[in-house]
């Protein structure tokens, strides 16, 4: 290494490179490697995956059969449990349904009855008297009506 690094009068790119070279060649602190080893030793290790024992390898046939049986057991047991729960005599829940809405769309007439306006009908003549206990015939009725109209005409003239 050149030794002009302590000559402040030397200016130029060489001087800059010399300074950088001095900085780059500074010794590492004592025990650096030891501290790094310690840090690596205390660093968390990556998880190891333990292999399956041979007898319990997932690829073996009887293991597959056992797994299938376990699945069947769980499914059947679950179904049976549900069945048992449903079978118990529990009082049925009564759900009150709201009254059905009719074709009127929920509106009612509130008891109102429509009465059509009609012309008053012809008044039937009243039989004034029944003579001799005889029932008045149609002829007699017509005569009486004629007589009453004549009487009313006379009264009108008067």
């Amino acid at each position: 290494m050149t030794t002009n690094h302590h000559n402040p009068s030397s200016f130029g790119p060489e001087s800059a490179e010399e300074t950088l070279r001095i900085v780059a060649s500074l010794p590492a602190p004592q025990g650096l490697e030891y501290r790094i080893h310690a840090a690596l030793g205390s660093a968390p290790r990556r998880a190891r995956v333990l292999p399956w024992p041979t007898a319990l390898k997932p690829q073996s046939n009887w293991m597959r059969t056992a797994a299938a049986a376990a699945i069947v057991f769980v499914v059947a047991g679950g179904g049976w449990g549900v069945y048992r729960r449903v079978e118990q005599n529990r009082p049925a829940k009564v759900i009150v349904l709201p009254p059905r809405i009719g074709a009127s769309g929920g509106f009612s007439a509130a008891g109102a009855v429509r009465t059509p306006q009609t012309i008053s009908g012809p008044a039937a003549p009243q039989v004034s008297q029944v003579r001799d206990g005889k029932k008045p015939t149609a002829k007699a009725g017509a005569k009486a009506a004629q007589k009453s109209s004549v009487t009313s005409q006379v009264a009108g003239r008067k």
Binding site: L20, P29, A39, T54
Partner: protein
Amino acid sequence: MSTSQAIYAGWMEIPNSAVEEQARRRAEDVALAALVDRYAAALYRVAYSVLRNPADAEDAVQETFLRVVRHRDTLNEVRDHRVWLIRIVWNIVLDRKRRAKTRPETDDVAELARVLPSTGLSAEELAAAAQHHAHVLACVEKLPQKEREVLTLSAFEELSSVEIAEVLGITESSVRSRLFRARNLIAGLLDHARSSK
């Protein structure tokens, strides 16, 4: 207990693959320890040249090896461990420097005087040298990032321009051109500083 095919531990059989895995892990540990012993100092110097703080530089070296542990599976695929490690520590220190955004500690003249070699120098000479180096380093800090990086790495005698190119992920011709520009710029900065005095 042990056979040529596999090892039986109690009721559980440990297959050959697990034994091989253990042996492989042990070999990786040995290789990693060798890497630490061989390159820790060089990595520290690279880290220090950027961060200029001993504690930060040591932290960066530790982080580098922790990253190596994390990617230990790829350790065998690495062609040049030295350049590979320098590249890792380089990225770590640049990231740290970017985050910290503080001036390097060694710009402090007193700190420089403490860390610089002082063989054969009087206290006065040492103080003057420290002041000079602090000024030069301040000028280096003013360089554009690309030029500064190349200039800093070129100060490591053990790194060739090809290796610098590999660390920075650029071509060798780019390294040369950046180094040329960096030298011109630093000369201009130092001249300007001298004329202004």
